[in-house]
């Protein structure tokens, strides 16, 4: 791993120029000739039957070109999995949450489109609704879907080892319940889509985490063959898991365009984007830990209840996959898992940063601090005691391919002088907290688990690289270019990247499940090495040397030990064209996953879960004002084991972003509800952290050099992103002596809790 020329360099992002000059084209910056503006009519009821829809007046409005309703729906219902297709992307018979899509119009201006919506009349029969996920499971509760008795849409039960024996044998046991409220990704770009249908072909421009998954779902719901749909690459204004699925707006724009033969662009308002794309699952996690008196974990028990809202979305993942994260960070002798996802008449919950992993990590890591306190063990030490190491096997048989968890824990502890006494704070309460977590790097997505790439050299030694890898801002474009440049021995500036286009680039898992660096990076590396081999062979012929003796970088190759015998790649490429052997690289990477591991069927959740795991650990220092309840985050030190930092600046940026996300989730973010309606669906009342809330952040890169990662690299910030949550809550616990078991924690919650504690002390 020495002698790296490009990997490890903090080069500027390859698409940064477009972003700083305003040239970057997001979906809404495209405006093909004749484009119409679309708008969507939404249900005002949380649960109702649709008796009829009258669109005749809207159709007659001057400027309206098309109106569509659920009647137009020709394909199969939408669902992430073949057995979870429960949603018509335009409502047909029923609506199940406030905001569900009922009709859509396309018109010559946004104003006309909005006016047309007001002319559509819908005859609803109001039905009883249920908003509380626990009440939804009770007998007699309103039922959302016929296929899901008691509104239980998905369930996951499994256990490993002898939990009961371990529980009995333990010196100490504790069980607590934790809850996280629904939050939103709040990508700064509200969701939207541009669709253009002509000549039998549908073109789509929309922010997406996978153009291939999007094309597949559109093909199903529109009943069009895949090759007749092209999902274009666009710049994307943030994803965080929230651009993973295919949305009703996609269906509406496509259907409208098919109906009138003109391009149609739909832009969701901020409120629509917050409420009607996806939210993070609100989740109640009841967790038990059984430990020996010196802090070794013997048993973990988890019972998850996830409020899924109206449709299934990625629900089974949210209650299944966190298991793969919880079993791989802190070892345990046994584990029992129960997850249930409940339908309610609230917005649809889906994937977001860690996908259920955060909620579960919060429960585990905060419960661990409660246990550590009772056992008289330092929170850092109890984590180091249980931290999984390289080569260890988790309970399911999944192996830790490389782990920098212990190093990350030590590093972030060191950055806040963990073992020294806390500075005193003038009437305020000071606290320190720590958390450590593990993260999967891709998982079993069937045929979509692997990533392929190809590249072609041009006559001037430049090259075009084709990969399906997606960049929603994470830096994946730069990552794949650095990997290709390193493998090929060419300058970064000689690479033109064509990516994330369903038509011209090869299959890729997409930028979710933290797979981009590990899987897509490896796919690109394989294609680059293939082309490199061709170049070496050509050079060996030209220089009359053995292939094994050819070396070089920066666009030139030479004979080892005789650097005067050299040739430029351009000359080789031109020669190769002349003799009919053009330099075309191709390659693919499939992670070493056990594809029989079935993560929903009890008894079948065994084997390698992911190609590798990344790790993160975080310490936080907070100051609490006991009068106002205000918590100030003073410092966060976040250590991420990313295997190898392909671009350290990009990694730091990802870590910083994860820290602020965590601060938002712990202290600010969460919807407040009146039945099925959120009371704060705007950025003024749903507060995401601003620049004023950025504390001192120390980003620490830990490099465990994964044996299978491209140049040793793995995912770069999501593991630390989990740990931020518990580090912050544990810091507040350290400061106040109160463990907050509900997120977000408001100043009023803090005041109330401190008062209760005082009363207890007096009483």
């Amino acid at each position: 791993m020495n002698d790296l020329h490009v990997v490890g360099q903090p080069i500027p992002s390859v698409d940064g120029i477009e972003k700083v000059t305003g040239a970057a084209a997001y979906y809404s910056d495209h405006r093909p000739p004749g484009m119409l503006y679309g708008a969507i009519l939404r249900s005002p009821f949380p649960h109702a039957r649709i008796r009829g829809i009258d669109v005749s007046k809207a159709k007659k409005l001057r400027g309206v070109r098309a109106v569509v309703t659920g009647e137009s729906y020709a394909g199969i219902p939408y669902g992430v999995f073949t057995n979870s297709r429960d949603q018509f992307l335009l409502a047909r018979d029923k609506v199940r949450y406030i905001g569900e899509e009922v009709a859509a119009v396309a018109a010559t201006s946004q104003d006309v489109a909005q006016e047309a919506l007001a002319l559509i009349s819908v005859d609803y029969e109001d039905l009883p609704a249920v908003f509380d996920f626990k009440k939804a499971m009770e007998p007699g509760a309103p039922q959302l879907h016929e296929h899901a008795p008691n509104n239980i849409g998905a369930e996951n039960n499994t256990s490993y080892g002898d939990v009961d024996a371990c529980w009995r044998r333990a010196d100490y046991r504790r069980t607590e319940t934790f809850f996280c409220e629904a939050i939103s990704h709040v990508q700064m770009e509200p969701y939207g889509v541009l669709a253009s249908y002509s000549g039998g072909k549908l073109l789509i421009w929309a922010p997406t985490t996978s153009p291939f998954a999007r094309r597949r779902a559109l093909s199903n719901v529109l009943d069009l063959p895949a090759q007749k749909i092209r999902v274009h690459k666009v710049f994307s204004g943030g994803a965080f898991g929230g651009r993973s699925e295919t949305f009703p707006a996609d269906y509406c724009a496509a259907r409208l365009s098919i109906a009138c033969g003109r391009p149609v662009r739909i832009t969701l308002s901020r409120e629509e984007s917050l409420m009607m794309s996806r939210q993070k699952h609100p989740m109640e996690v009841t967790m038990g830990l059984a430990l020996t008196k010196d802090g070794a974990i013997l048993a973990k028990t988890l019972d998850l209840l996830a409020d899924g809202g109206a449709y299934m979305s990625t629900g089974p993942i949210a209650i299944g996959w966190p298991l793969a994260m919880v079993e791989i960070a802190l070892r345990s002798k046994s584990l029992r898992w129960r997850g249930r996802r409940i339908y309610t008449n609230r917005p649809i919950r889906g994937a977001m940063k860690g996908h259920g992993g955060q909620q579960v990590h919060y429960a585990e890591s905060c419960l661990l601090d409660l246990c550590a306190k009772d056992l008289g063990i330092d929170p850092l030490d109890i984590r180091l005691r249980n931290a999984m190491k390289t080569g260890e096997e988790a309970l399911s048989g999944s192996r830790v391919v490389s782990s920098g968890l212990s190093e990350a824990l030590e590093a972030c502890a060191g950055a806040v002088n963990w073992k020294t006494p806390k500075p005193s704070a003038n009437g305020k309460l000071r606290g320190r907290g720590i958390g450590g977590a593990g993260m999967i790097n891709g998982f079993n997505m069937g045929f979509r688990s692997s990533s392929s790439a190809y590249l072609k050299f041009n006559e001037d030694a430049s090259l075009t690289l084709f990969t399906g890898a997606v960049d929603n801002g994470q830096g994946n474009n730069t990552m794949v270019v650095q990997v290709a440049a390193e493998a090929l021995g060419v300058p970064v500036s000689s690479i033109e990247l064509i990516s994330a286009d369903s038509e011209t680039t090869p299959q890729d898992p997409g930028a979710y499940s933290m797979s981009a660096t590990f899987v897509s990076g490896n796919g690109v590396r394989a294609a680059a090495l293939d082309a490199r081999e061709q170049l070496l062979a050509l050079a060996a012929e030209r220089l009359e040397a053995n292939v094994a003796d050819i070396e070089g970088y920066n666009g030139e190759l030479w004979v080892r030990g005789a650097p005067q015998r050299r040739v430029g790649i351009g000359a080789l490429v031109r020669h190769a064209y002349a003799v009919g052997r053009p330099v075309l690289g191709r390659g693919s990477y499939t992670p070493k996953i056990n594809f029989n591991r079935d993560w929903l069927t009890p008894g079948k959740q065994y084997g390698q879960a992911t190609g590798t795991y990344s790790y993160g650990a975080v310490t936080a220092e907070v100051e609490v004002d006991p009068e106002t309840g205000e918590v100030t985050v003073l410092k966060v030190a976040a250590a991420q084991d990313c295997g190898k930092a392909i671009n350290p600046r990009a990694v730091d940026g990802q870590v910083h972003g994860s820290v602020l996300f965590g601060i938002g989730q712990v202290f600010h973010e969460g919807f407040t509800w009146d039945g099925g309606m959120a009371l704060n669906p705007n950025l003024l009342e749903y507060h995401i952290p601003t620049i004023k809330e950025t504390p001192e952040i120390v980003s620490l890169i830990v490099e465990s050099n994964d044996p299978d990662g491209p140049y040793g690299a793995k995912e770069a910030a999501e593991a630390a992103g989990l740990a931020v949550i518990s580090a912050l809550v544990n810091a507040v616990y350290d400061a106040t002596g109160v463990m907050f078991t509900r997120l977000p924690i408001s100043p009023a919650d803090v005041v109330k809790a401190l008062e209760a504690k005082q009363r207890q002390r007096r009483g």
Partner: protein, 164 residues
């Protein structure tokens, strides 16, 4: 539909004069994006809450989603597209690029223009000034750390004597 009233206005945008006839209820953001095709300004909320749409009006940052186009008659507008001169990036653009001060890039125009107004008003701006000036622009990706660093770097570069 009630027919909108139209008004003809003169806007100087990035140094170039434009005569435009627009319905009076349209915002500066819509006119800049839809009529002048300067799409670097972004819509994040259309309500004044996010700052993605920030433009400079006579050198001062404004939320263009809350500004009516007709209010800007006879005034000078700067957008992100006007910052580079003769193919040379503005020091803020260079600094954002070098420090990875953008990830998805959706907030970048608002950030850079807000910072430009700050540095023109206050070349010695420190971290607290930067936090205050950029406080109305939200970024969900970066955690703001590299953004603060970029503005500091640009400030230093702009103060440095010009190299001949």
């Amino acid at each position: 539909m009630t027919e909108p009233c139209y008004q003809t206005i003169e806007l100087e945008v990035n140094g170039e004069p434009h005569d435009l006839t627009t319905p009076t209820h349209r915002t500066l953001l819509d006119v800049i994006r839809e009529d002048l095709h300067l799409t670097g300004a972004k819509m994040g909320c259309n309500k004044g809450d996010c700052g993605c749409c920030t433009l400079l009006l006579d050198g001062q940052p404004v939320l263009s989603c809350l500004t009516l186009a007709v209010e800007c008659d006879g005034r000078r507008v700067e957008t992100i597209e006007g910052l580079a001169e003769n193919g040379q990036l503005h020091p803020l653009q260079t600094a954002f690029l070098d420090t990875w001060a953008m990830q998805c890039g959706y907030c970048t125009a608002g950030m850079i223009l807000s910072a430009k107004a700050l540095l023109e008003r206050c070349p010695e701006a420190g971290v607290e000034d930067i936090r205050a000036a950029l406080g109305s622009v939200l970024c969900r990706c970066t955690g703001y750390v590299h953004i603060i660093e970029a503005v500091q770097r640009a400030a230093a570069a702009m103060r440095a004597p010009v190299q001949v």
